[in-house]
């Protein structure tokens, strides 16, 4: 284990502790935190500043925009006029699927408008997330268990799983589009005539299969790393005690891998919730494969401000899911990333 932290020699306040490497708890500790805090401020400042510029500023800007109306037509001249303040109308329009009516006011969005797609896009996004993350977890676990065994060619398998991960998503999407073409290899191999990108469920499965192919390796590697942390003796002991394979899995493997697994699941979930590249290139969002991210992109050219409201809603949804994970499912990412210096309690 790493050493106990000694007091910082640099700029150590005169009042703080003694010359020994183990200052008494209390005053010394506080001072040390203070002096290290100064250091930390300087070291962290560039990162925090950069993130403020590239993330915080756009968010604020988006929120401001989302309370503005988009430009509309002046019926007399046929020319565009500025929108003005909208209050929370943009948010209401999305959430209640309300669209502007020809004679003022709003009506329920008819099919064929972006506004009418909010809830179906939300449902699709969650469907993709739940199905892909579940499949990836199960398959990832299975792959990890295989890779944890010793057999000839193990390193080959471990290298191979990195291949799908290394291919850029945009290329993956084009590749699977080609595989799923009507005349393509998928239909040929399985002797089917499925219109993969032409009807709702095949299109959804096409996206799910491509996503699972691409991201299961990530899951498998995280789980494998977790598996390798479990000391072999634990299994030995269990086996001597007569635990069956299933029992060993349930009583030892699962609980010990759980912290790593939860972090992996959280990462994948948040990643899946913002899924864009794959359905955008693979299906173009047709046949109910439009995710929230695709809806935002489609809206941008029909009106910035409504798009800003939608992107803010998307952000809040993802934030809420992260919150629920952390709060109720115990995926403690910060603790897991273990920023605490070792040896400290």
């Amino acid at each position: 284990m790493a050493t106990e932290l000694g007091p910082t020699p640099v700029k150590r306040p005169a009042s703080g502790g003694t010359e020994t490497h183990r200052p008494p708890k209390g005053v010394g500790e506080d001072n040390r935190i203070k002096s290290q805090g100064k250091w930390a401020t300087w070291l962290l400042a560039p990162t925090i500043l950069a993130l403020a510029v590239v993330i915080v500023y756009p968010i604020i800007s988006a929120i401001v925009m989302s309370f503005q109306k988009d430009a509309g037509l002046d019926p007399a001249t046929g020319l565009f006029v500025q929108g003005g303040p909208a209050g929370i109308q943009n948010y209401v329009n999305w959430l209640a699927q309300q669209c502007a009516a020809p004679n003022g006011g709003t009506v329920a969005c008819p099919p064929g408008t972006l506004g009418g797609q909010f809830w179906s896009a939300t449902a699709t996004t969650f469907l993709f997330t739940i199905v892909t993350v579940t499949l990836e977890t199960v398959l990832g676990f299975w792959m990890a268990m295989i890779m944890a065994r010793t057999f000839k060619g193990r390193s080959l398998v471990r290298a191979a799983v990195l291949v799908p991960w290394a291919i850029p998503t945009a290329v993956t999407a084009k590749l699977w589009f080609f595989i799923f073409a009507f005349e393509g290899i998928a239909n040929k191999l399985f002797n089917t005539t499925i219109l993969w990108t032409g009807s709702e469920w095949p299109a959804k499965w096409a996206v799910i299969i491509a996503d699972v192919w691409k991201t299961t390796p990530f899951m498998a590697l995280l789980i494998l790393a977790g598996l390798q942390m479990i000391p072999a003796e634990v299994y030995e002991a269990a086996k001597v005690d007569g635990a069956s394979a299933l029992q060993r899995f349930r009583m030892i493997t699962l609980p010990l891998v759980k912290p790593a697994l939860m972090v992996a699941v959280l990462f994948r979930t948040l990643d899946a919730l913002r899924m864009f590249d794959l359905p955008y290139i693979l299906t173009g969002g047709a046949n109910n494969t439009t995710t929230l991210s695709i809806l935002v992109i489609n809206q941008i050219r029909q009106g910035f401000n409504a798009a800003a409201a939608l992107s803010t809603i998307t952000f809040v949804i993802i934030f809420l899911v992260a919150f629920i994970f952390v709060r109720f499912l115990g995926a403690n990412v910060v603790e897991q990333s273990g920023a605490t210096p070792k040896g400290k309690k």
Partner: protein, 430 residues
């Protein structure tokens, strides 16, 4: 650290807190807007160097033309600025420059479907009064595509229309009407191939195909005032034709995934009797190695209700920016770019369909591009895609609902009334 569990949510929440409290202010604002009233009246007599902006000059036709112009007009030289070849990127680049009210783009090339949007934003110089352009020699549908609210905002530059390709080894004479064509589907059945396909995947091509079906049977997507007019018997018959053909198998099931290329491939592989596509297919189907229809390729105008159908119109218009300082030069350049000589050069060098009706009978041209006579019929009967400033929303409304109707997921009249409502809503602004 016992506070740890509590701190993480708090930490993540910190992002939100920061968001709400820090900095304030920021971009905001709305798009362009404002009529171009004063800008449209300024600099009408201005002469001097100008810039012409167009997407990637893939067929290498613009550069020689610009050189020719520059040789003749040493004091009013044109600088040619080439944009990308991605339509979306071209669109965004123009928007960016117009929004900055930049005088650096004098003459711009605009896709037919953007013309109304840019006109409504007040960015295009109306071509009237001092800026009048003679369009009498041009095919009328191409002029309509450049006209918004009764005012001409651009000059048609190149055009494009749909052609019905057919297997002349199996079909003795091309069908003139949709019903005739459907009658010939028995031939397809006898030969165990698909009968008809266009582009029915859910993308811009479906807007083209669905509008063609509606227009060909006498209906229309938008009326003269730009209001949707889809709740009509004619529109129902048009979209109904596609839905019925899909349901009874005359349009093969896989056609619902077809874009231009997939449909061309199917036709070239000998799997289709009839294909609706653009003129580009002619070259490939007659020259490509794997094509099985090289000597069996027939071409005709799209079938309609009782005669030729109404193709959707593709192509590009050329317009003057209201922010240009040298509009007199710009107008001259516009005239030059749409002159007979230029149009002929476009057709011979770039295989770009002309907008001047006389050129379709030009012997040299027809020898080089055998589809020209058919294309002329197609363009003469063509209807521009809806001329509306809300084109992205309108095309979306057409695609979504036509797609459901063709697949039989909802009745044709429901689809049309949903289409109607969606377009009304788009026009009402948000």
């Amino acid at each position: 650290m016992k506070t740890r569990r509590f701190l993480l949510p708090a930490a993540t929440a910190g992002i939100l807190a920061l968001t709400l409290s820090a900095c304030g202010g920021g971009g905001g604002g709305t798009t362009g807007g404002g009529g171009g009233g004063s800008d449209a009246d300024a600099n009408l007599d201005g002469r001097g160097p100008i810039t012409y902006v167009q997407g990637k000059d893939n067929s290498k036709v613009v550069r020689p033309l610009v050189d020719k112009w520059n040789a003749a007009h040493p004091d009013e030289k044109v600088t040619f600025k080439e944009q990308t070849d991605q339509a979306d990127q071209q669109h965004d680049d123009l928007v960016q420059h117009f929004q900055a009210k930049g005088a650096d783009y004098d003459v711009v090339d605009v896709d037919v479907v953007w013309t109304a949007e840019f006109a409504a934003k007040g960015w295009l110089q109306p071509l009237k009064d001092k800026m009048t352009l003679d369009t009498s020699a041009m095919l009328k549908p191409t002029v309509d595509s450049a006209t918004y609210k009764g005012t001409l905002y651009a000059a048609p530059q190149t055009s494009d229309g749909g052609i019905l390709y057919y297997r002349k080894d199996l079909v003795p004479t091309a069908p003139k009407t949709w019903d005739e064509m459907m009658g010939m589907c028995s031939i397809a059945k006898a030969n165990n191939i698909g009968c008809y396909a266009g582009q029915f995947s859910k993308y811009e091509g479906l807007t083209v195909n669905a509008s063609e079906a509606i227009n060909s049977s006498g209906g229309s997507v938008l009326d003269k005032d730009g209001k949707p007019s889809l709740n009509t018997a004619d529109a129902k018959a048009g979209l109904g034709n596609l839905a019925k053909a899909y349901a009874d198998g005359n349009i093969p099931k896989e056609a619902i995934t077809y874009k231009e290329e997939e449909s061309r491939q199917a036709f070239q592989d000998g799997k289709l009797l009839f294909l609706r596509n653009w003129p580009y297919v002619y070259n490939l189907a007659t020259t490509e190695g794997s094509s099985t229809v090289k000597d069996k390729l027939g071409m005709a105008a799209l079938p309609g209700k009782s005669g030729p159908g109404a193709s959707s119109l593709g192509g590009h218009n050329i317009a003057v920016s209201v922010y240009s300082k040298n509009k007199a030069t710009a107008l001259d350049f516009l005239k030059f770019m749409t002159s007979e000589e230029t149009e002929k050069f476009y057709a011979t060098q770039g295989s770009l369909a002309p907008v001047l009706s006389a050129l379709y009978e030009d012997k040299d041209l027809v020898a080089k591009l055998p589809y020209l006579p058919v294309l002329k019929t197609s363009i003469e009967n063509a209807v521009p895609r809806p001329v509306t400033p809300f084109y992205p929303a309108v095309t979306k409304a057409i695609q979504e609902n036509a797609y459901s109707a063709i697949k039989g997921e909802k009745p044709v009249d429901t689809a049309l009334s949903d289409m109607q409502k969606s377009i009304e809503s788009a026009g009402a602004g948000s």
